[in-house]
Symmetry: C2
């Protein structure tokens, strides 16, 4: 199978555009990142999976409306390309504050958190589009050497 | 791009084989499901992402050793194929009990839980191999209409 020229770099750029849109809380920019189709899906931390662009977009609108400030520092980013599909895993080191877009930012309310993320992209019409984002909370104090079951509780 | 003949059905079978290996707590069967390479990754609920087959395999060994019984009922399964890559989203409705493989099953300890899962497969040498599993706990009482931020806390 032919691969996309310079794929890793362009996937990494698409991944960065996703986080830039999230930090800017810009729904138009977020819509540019995604493939606006029925097959897209998003799983926000603690949420059930939402399917299809209308529900995915609705979740972004709701999250942006309830986020006064959010900043991502990505670590452990790994990009893998297989043909015209790519998946990225990374750790989202998040600093955020609640409140509305219109309200003032209350820096006293800043919270940190760690989310493990999987982002899937498909190359179409000359560019990579996100088709899936899955973020899950990493329990405080968890290290890779701990052993736990596949338990939701 | 040429697609894999009958792809959706064979991806669904590969996905089912993953859960069968998990229910059987069979490391050999689980190894058959996965691509045993450096690019594979697993994110168990609440865990950080583990990279590469040795660490992924180690996590299965630890989980199987601490799981006396586990049963999955999959709902809302969606299979998407793009060339020779496929991704599956599904809800894992889990019934499980702790304890060791060697110890007896204590049915009084059965716990339920809901995990949102993303599974990625790559077609190679005539079959689909899992390259990524990401499972995340769905908070009790969460519905798709709730609005929450991308917060790990």
């Amino acid at each position: 199978m032919s691969s996309v020229p310079g794929a890793e770099a362009t996937v990494e750029a698409a991944n960065a555009a996703y986080y830039a849109a999230f930090e800017a809380r810009d729904l138009d920019a977020m819509a540019e990142v995604w493939e606006r189709s029925d097959r897209v899906a998003v799983t926000h931390p603690g949420w059930p999976t939402l399917h299809g662009w209308p529900r995915v977009a609705g979740s972004w609108d709701a999250i942006f409306a309830n986020t006064a400030f959010i900043q991502f520092v990505l670590t452990d980013e790994a990009v893998h390309v297989s043909g015209t599909t790519a998946w990225v895993t990374c750790d989202e080191n998040i600093l955020q504050a609640g409140g509305s877009r219109e309200g003032g930012e209350d820096l006293a309310e800043l919270q940190g958190g760690l989310v493990a993320a999987t982002n899937v992209f498909v190359f179409d019409d000359g560019r990579w589009r996100m088709v899936l984002h899955h973020g899950s909370p990493v329990a405080p104090g968890e290290s890779e050497s701990d052993a736990h079951g596949e338990d939701a509780s």
